[in-house]
């Protein structure tokens, strides 16, 4: 913490120097207009009224297209390293699910309007008009971002052609404005903490329950008698209880409570009619939760990020407008030389009583063959590793205004070069493991050595855009139109290129798109939008590479009609509809599925000397007609303003996917090969969004309350499913990603068994191995007397929630302001066995036991144990119990939750005070990220609803300052 304070002071000193220079400069440049306002605020207003999207920005009121935007200022209110974690609840239609909090690997998963397909549902990201990777987007700084728009409207998406089906995130970075030179300095400093850590039981409860488990395992061997044969003696139990026995809280030992977070940035803007500049320098440093110093021999998990953005605009020779945008970044990650997810798994499975951290007899690190990786030693004794990432997006744009040919006509050419590379370096060591004075493994303690630097991965993305546009008003008619040609050439490393078939060495991705859009309005009341794209992808056979994607939208501003014009309660009302086609050429099944491939396979021998002849076999059968998945999107909605205070937007949408690339399992076996991939899958996704905002003021008290909700639910209409034995096991007709499993009906009781341990007549026989009292009982859904994999059915909802909602409040009184943002979801379920396996399954494979198993079924009258009536967990076992750990309703839990994503309390100094300080704006604030969570899983199982296992998700408490001059 001390270091951070020091750094903050340095930043402030730096700011003070800059401030002084600025004051001098401002005196010199008095002839230029002052900045309209603080730049970001200006742009926020702009983002509200102007629709962002490909080719041209346009006034929302003149178009039938509606896509929500959020400004960088709003995103900046959530101080987190990864930009995806600022997006909760701020963009209606965009669902964001938090993941790991590990520094440098903390991206949230994003989806637009639910999920339209069971193939690749990944959205596509554009920064300043060019497609980028998710990794480039994730570590942009909110200080560089002007706005983020979720493109989900059918007309907007159709112009993306084969990139549009899953929706697009459209990011615009900050540019200069015509104003006097302005400098904004922002610093935020805080501490990050684990949202939740689900700790296992300590040694006493571990040993107590282990005794039950081992006794249960001997039940059958003991002639089905309940004989208590504890492994841990009463004396041992007592030693655990009174603190003399080994009882290590691994989480406490390996983790610290707080990880520091700092973000500082300086934004320079200004310019005149011939040149404008927007320059952003941003530094971010985040340290992880590991209880280890960052130095030459060890390292906490850490991310340092340096962003530089220079966006320049030039006007020259009357007809030219040029933009030069450079967005560069360095990311330095450091972490202990031990795989993060594995460390968290060790923390969750290593029992408290296995050994003290250091072997008492020798003072060396403890370790055994069963538990070789002492978590504290993993952090302290193995050294550290690091990666160094360099990223650059360089865009150049030239616009020619051709009004001399035809008024309103222009041409625009743009090119983008985006490149990323990663190198790795490490200082590593190994250590010997000891237990009770003896070495337990062959590992030796070595000196720490430097392993040099190696190249890891890279990508390179070149894109070009040429647009011809036309923008003209003729009386009551207004036309804005653009025609665009786009070409993209992406090259990645073979190591990164692994999704689906035929990737590997096929590292070149080429794509072309010819598209256009026309916006026509009559009297600003009758609105028409036309869009189209002709997309060509290199994934398909010559002759079937191109697809056509048209769209149409129409709107009617009803409030401009005479009968509503002077209506006092309805200030604005617009109805709109849209329909459009789009596609997706990036299937998870792979590329070049039209090519017939052959693979090597075994050998057959001839001759008496047995000369081997290697076999070669046709892989899946090629489908020469394979093509991009297709989406038909329909949208209807309205935008309204009531009493000039209440804004309401509502949309209903329907997404009919077809041609989803699927292996055609309906082909008869006589086909005789791996089924070909065909465009046969169908999914329907539908839902609605409502968004409302109420703004008012009472005297000096200004407030704004808003809320939004998205409902999206899909259904698999066809997926060429291999027909299951029973109709109730079918996936077709259900939503995508539903969990499938058995229906649990409780636990077996002693009365369910005969004296010889066999199940009583009439009870279905489970096919997963022998059962005994206390095991989970399942429903024999098909009634054939056996419970097996044919009795599986839908046991819950997908993890991606059907309903996502958020509400927020902004309150301001004089210089003070308070904002709160809540976000939650409902309608999803979690399978504990997949989401938190080690926190759920006790003892199996030498793992730990958690409070969830505290109420396990047990019956040992001789030891005074009888939980038969109250058990909520099956009988404990140390063996792989295939019966109990089947996917079933027993382990399905509701995943509803509501979080406070962000609270910020701030103070803006008054204008008079600022004038004395030669400042335009000074703001100080306190904020909290994810401070409160209400969740069924957390209440009942102490598990976070989003980050269920692994490196914990984060919350943070921060203080910050913004000054502008």
């Amino acid at each position: 913490m001390k270091k951070n304070t020091r750094r903050s002071i340095l930043v402030f000193l730096f700011a003070a120097v800059v401030l002084f220079c600025q004051v001098l400069l401002a005196q010199v440049k008095k002839n230029l207009p002052a900045h309209d306002s603080v730049m970001v605020e200006l742009n926020y207003e702009k983002a509200k009224g102007i629709e962002q999207g490909p080719y041209f920005e346009f006034n929302k009121n003149e178009s039938a297209i509606s896509n929500p935007s959020v400004s960088g200022t709003v995103l900046y209110k959530t101080p987190v390293p990864n930009i995806t974690n600022t997006l909760y609840g701020v963009l209606p239609g965009l669902a964001v699910r938090q993941g790991s909090g590990e520094p440098g690997y903390d991206g949230a998963s994003l989806s637009i309007r639910g999920k339209g397909t069971y193939d690749n549902a990944g959205l596509v990201i554009y920064v300043d008009g060019f497609q980028t990777t998710s990794s480039y987007f994730q570590y942009l700084s909110a200080s560089e971002i002007e706005s983020i728009t979720v493109l989900k409207d059918p007309v907007s998406l159709s112009t993306f052609g084969m990139k549009g089906a899953n929706g697009v995130l459209w990011i615009v970075t900050k540019r200069g404005a015509i104003c006097k030179p302005t400098v904004q300095i922002q610093v935020v400093d805080g501490v990050q903490q684990a949202l939740n850590i689900d700790k296992p039981y300590g040694s006493y409860d571990y040993a107590r329950l282990y005794n039950q488990a081992i006794s249960n395992d001997n039940y059958a061997l003991n002639g089905n008698q309940y004989i208590y044969i504890p492994k841990y003696s009463a004396a041992q139990l007592q030693s655990y209880q009174n603190g003399t026995g080994t009882n290590v809280d691994w989480y406490n030992q390996a983790l610290r409570k707080n990880g520091p977070f700092t973000n500082a940035n300086v934004v320079f803007t200004g310019g005149d009619h011939s040149a404008k500049y927007g320059v952003v320098l941003d530094y971010m440093r985040q340290q992880g939760l590991y209880n280890v110093a960052t130095g030459s021999n060890t390292s906490n998990a850490q991310l340092e990020r340096f962003n530089i953005r220079t966006n320049l605009d030039f006007n020259f020779l009357k007809i030219f407008e040029a933009k030069v945008d450079l967005g560069g970044r360095i990311e330095d990650r450091r972490f202990p030389n031990y795989n993060g997810p594995q460390l968290w798994q060790d923390l969750s499975v290593y029992p408290s009583n296995i050994y003290p951290i250091k072997d008492a007899a020798t003072g060396n690190w403890s370790g055994t063959t069963i538990y070789p990786n002492n978590p504290v030693a993993s952090l302290n004794a193995l050294g550290w590793a690091s990666t160094h990432d360099r990223t650059l997006q360089a865009n150049f744009n030239l616009k020619e205004k051709l009004d001399f040919i035809a008024p309103g006509l222009y041409l625009n050419e743009a090119a983008s070069f985006n490149t990323w590379s990663r190198t790795a370096a490490s200082n590593t060591a190994t250590y010997a493991r000891y237990y009770n004075g003896a070495q337990t493994t062959t590992d030796k303690t070595t000196n720490i050595v430097n392993n040099g630097t190696t190249a890891v991965d890279q990508y390179d993305w070149k894109q070009a855009n040429i647009t011809a546009g036309y923008d003209k008003h003729f009386g009551a008619h207004a036309v804005t139109a653009a025609l665009n040609y786009y070409a993209s050439n992406y090259i990645t490393d073979a190591g990164l290129n692994t999704a689906g078939q035929n990737t590997g060495t096929n590292i070149y991705y080429h794509f072309e798109n010819i598209s256009g859009k026309v916006n026509y309005s009559y009297k600003s009341t009758y609105l028409l939008d036309l869009g189209f794209a002709e997309s060509g992808s290199d994934n398909y056979a010559p002759g079937s590479r191109w697809g056509f994607y048209p769209s149409l939208g129409a709107g009617w501003v009803i409030s401009n009609e005479d009968f509503l014009k002077n209506n006092k309660s309805i200030s604005f009302l617009k109805a709109r509809i849209g329909v459009g086609k789009s596609g997706n050429d990036q299937s998870n099944n792979g590329r070049y599925l039209y090519q017939q491939y052959y693979t090597g396979s075994g050998s057959f021998y001839t001759g008496n000397s047995l000369s081997g002849n290697s076999g070669i076999v046709q892989s899946y059968a090629a489908n020469p007609n394979i093509f991009a998945e297709q989406s038909m999107k329909y949208n209807a909605g309205f935008d309204a303003v009531f009493l000039k205070k209440l804004t309401v937007n509502a949309d209903v949408f329907l997404d009919k996917r077809s041609g989803i690339i699927t292996q055609n399992n309906s082909l008869m076996a006589v086909y005789g090969s791996s089924q070909p991939y065909s465009n046969i899958g169908k999914v329907t996704n539908r839902g609605f969004e409502v968004n409302a905002n109420y703004t008012d003021k009472v005297g000096q008290f200004k407030y704004n309350i808003g809320g939004s909700m998205t409902y999206a639910k899909n259904r698999i209409d066809y997926m060429s499913e291999i027909p299951p034995v029973n109709a109730f096991s079918k996936l077709t007709g259900q939503p995508t990603d539903i969990p499938i499993g058995l229906v649990a009906t409780g636990l077996y009781n002693i009365t369910d068994f005969n004296a010889d341990g066999s199940l009583k007549a009439g009870l279905p026989t489970p096919a997963f191995g022998a059962v005994q009292p206390g095991d989970i009982k399942y429903k024999d859904l098909d009634g054939n007397g056996t419970v097996d994999q044919n009795d599986v059915t839908r046991i819950g909802n997908p993890t991606l929630a059907f309903i996502n909602y958020s509400f927020n409040a902004n309150l301001a009184y004089k210089g003070f302001d308070l904002t709160v943002l809540f976000q939650g979801s409902t309608g999803s379920d979690i399978n504990l066995l997949t989401a938190a396996y080690y926190q759920t399954v006790a003892f199996v494979n030498n793992t730990n036991v958690y409070p969830i198993a505290g109420k396990a079924w047990a019956y040992y009258p001789s030891a005074g144990i009888d939980t038969r009536a109250t058990a909520t967990y099956p009988r404990l076992t140390t063996q792989a119990n295939n019966n109990n750990y089947q996917n079933s309703t027993f382990w399905m839990k509701k995943d509803d939750f509501l979080r406070v994503r962000n609270i910020e309390f701030g103070y803006n100094f008054s204008a008079s005070a600022l004038k004395k300080m030669h400042l335009e704006k000074l703001r100080i604030y306190l904020s909290a990220v994810n401070p409160f969570t209400w969740a069924y899983l957390k209440t009942h199982y102490n598990i976070d609803p989003e980050t269920t296992s692994g490196y914990a998700g984060l919350k943070s408490y921060n203080s910050g300052i913004t000054l502008t001059f």
């Binding site: 035929n502 050998s603 001759g607 008869m668």
Partner: protein, 573 residues
């Protein structure tokens, strides 16, 4: 002004049109496509190898230890061997019968037949594209592929009855609604394919290519199909279960005794071709153990007309080749495959008389076991290692001694050692698909059925006396039928005949001690299991009671295929 506007637009469009045409062309990468497979002889011969490997693997544990469908021997479910370690596949079939859904089909499953057949057609259809191969070689390869297709259909006819006949590689867009053809259509196709390919195939291949399909091999496929067609299961108007209008999918539609004549002609043609042109002969040097051992075990011996010469590499977890996994008792996967008492009863004593075995009640001293086992005929000695005795098929080889080859105790009769005569530590072997001896027995069976008893005896005794047994002399047709069936059981133990023979003969006791019913073994040491040394006594004991239902005369089709609505399931499933 307006024309300038249009010029600009036109210039823009021309610019777009000028974009590189091959921008979207797939670049060269490290993969093999259809064009490169059939461009050179080297690659094409790889495809040919694959065709042999897939087509001839039917019913054999070629996939190694963990491949589910291959984790058992056919003899496990025919009642000859205990179900052993392979219980995960064979046990439910033995105890509960076959079911159409999932796990109880015969070996690697119905669908895989068509994978093999597709590979055969793929080679035949594309071999003409190869540039550096002579036209005559291409004709030969096509004939080989045709014979391999015939082999798969012959085996499918025996296991399933009528099956869909395909005659090319399908494309995804083709109409794949191929219904089941009748048994008669399958039989006729097999016969005509074999006739066509036999006319082209060579009688012998040059040394480096031995093992490829020969004229005798093609004739052998045809003869096997015709013999099963003559047997009672298919050669009838009233099938094992009434299938109504679909009866012709599970039988030939009439009982025609002349089918035995046809089968006889085909069988004799194999013998003639193999012995006169193919360089094959029954191995008979007057040393029965060695002769039978060589004929069944030695790679490339003179009696084998077609063998499965599979990959013998170390491709599974145990470091043993896949074939060794379930046949070689040095590999733990095979430990459970032990001889049942039911099957033991088939073997003669070396002098041709019957052995008397203990009953369920009497506890007999173990010395009696050793004595009686010592009296058994040479083929028994070659095929099994008795408890507390060294294996007779590798005399003097410590690797096969009781000291080394005992794995664990059991309540069964003895341990199979077939296919490893004088093999030493060699784990692999070549599974004999067609042995010349089979056609002597086929001829014998056919002669007997058409009443030519003398000829039947002559053919039978060639095999019977080769095994060191005195010649059979009975002239009673029914008695001789039983003796011939017994000869099939003994001579071809573990060679994948028994399971289907007992069904196609419709043996009356099939559900009572053969496939179904009580399956016995030997208990040792007062009702316990055998030990490596110092066994005290033994008696007959019940191991399990196996399932049998008439529906199992033919296999079920996979439910997932039937659900597609084109294939009619066999009756009873």
């Amino acid at each position: 002004m307006r024309y300038k506007f249009f010029i600009t637009i036109v210039a823009f469009v021309i610019f777009l049109g000028a974009c590189q045409k091959d921008f979207l062309q797939m670049p060269l990468s490290s993969t093999t496509t259809v064009d490169s497979v059939f461009s050179t002889t080297t690659n094409a011969l790889s495809a040919v190898s694959q065709a042999y490997s897939e087509s001839l693997s039917q019913g054999i544990t070629y996939q190694g230890a963990w491949a589910y469908w291959n984790a058992m021997l056919q003899e496990n479910i025919s009642g000859a061997l205990n179900y052993g370690f392979a219980w995960s596949v064979s046990e439910p079939m033995i105890m509960n019968g076959y079911t159409a859904s999932g796990t109880s089909e015969d070996m690697d499953g119905f669908n895989y037949n068509y994978t093999a057949i597709r590979q055969d057609y793929l080679v035949a259809e594309n071999i003409d594209k190869v540039k550096d191969m002579s036209a005559s070689d291409k004709v030969l390869i096509k004939a080989e592929m045709q014979a391999l297709v015939a082999y798969r259909y012959e085996q499918m006819m025996i296991a399933y009855g009528g099956v869909p006949i395909v005659s090319k590689t399908f494309n995804a867009g083709d109409n794949l609604a191929v219904k089941r053809n009748t048994v008669l259509q399958v039989l006729d196709s097999v016969v005509s394919w074999c006739d066509q390919s036999a006319a082209i195939l060579p009688s012998q291949w040059p040394a480096i290519y031995t093992g490829r399909m020969t004229k005798a091999g093609a004739l052998a496929i045809k003869a096997k199909a015709l013999m099963y067609a003559a047997r009672p299961l298919l050669n009838t108007a009233t099938p094992y279960l009434n299938f109504g209008s679909n009866n012709n999918l599970i039988c030939l539609g009439n009982a025609d005794p002349s089918r035995w004549t046809t089968a006889l002609t085909a069988s004799e043609a194999v013998i003639t071709e193999a012995e006169s042109n193919g360089g094959a002969h029954l191995i008979n040097t007057g040393n029965p153990l060695a002769d039978y051992g060589t004929a069944t075990s030695t790679p490339g011996n003179a009696e084998v007309l077609l063998a499965y010469k599979n990959d013998n590499g170390s491709s599974d977890a145990s470091g043993k080749g896949p074939m060794a996994c379930f046949y070689n008792m040095h590999t733990w996967y095979a430990y459970g495959n032990m001889l049942t008492e039911n099957f033991l009863e088939n073997y003669y004593k070396a002098d041709g008389t019957e052995q008397s075995w203990p009953d369920l009640v009497t506890v007999t001293p173990f010395s009696d076991y050793l004595t009686k086992m010592g009296q058994m005929e040479p083929r028994y000695q070659a095929d099994f290692k008795n408890w507390q005795m060294d294996a007779a098929n590798n005399p003097g080889d410590s690797y096969w001694s009781n000291a080394n080859d005992y794995q664990w105790g059991s309540n069964s009769v003895s341990i199979p050692t077939k296919f490893y005569y004088k093999a030493g530590t060699r784990g692999w072997f070549e599974f004999p698909i067609f042995r010349l001896a089979a056609y002597y027995l086929s001829s014998s069976e056919a002669y007997n059925e058409i009443g030519q008893t003398a000829n039947a005896l002559a053919r039978l005794n060639k095999v019977h006396t080769r095994a060191g047994l005195p010649a059979v002399t009975t002239t009673d047709q029914a008695t001789l039928r039983t003796i011939i069936q017994r000869e099939w059981a003994i001579e071809f133990f573990d060679e994948n005949y028994r399971l289907h023979d007992v069904k196609h003969w419709k043996l009356p006791n099939i559900g009572n001690g053969i496939i179904g019913g009580n399956i016995y073994g030997f208990a040792f040491n007062n009702g316990s299991i055998s030990t490596q040394y110092g066994n005290i006594n033994y008696q007959k004991t019940l191991i399990y009671t196996a399932f049998w239902a008439p529906r199992e005369y033919l296999n079920p089709f996979p439910q997932s295929e039937v659900n597609k609505g084109i294939i009619v399931q066999n009756p009873g499933y």
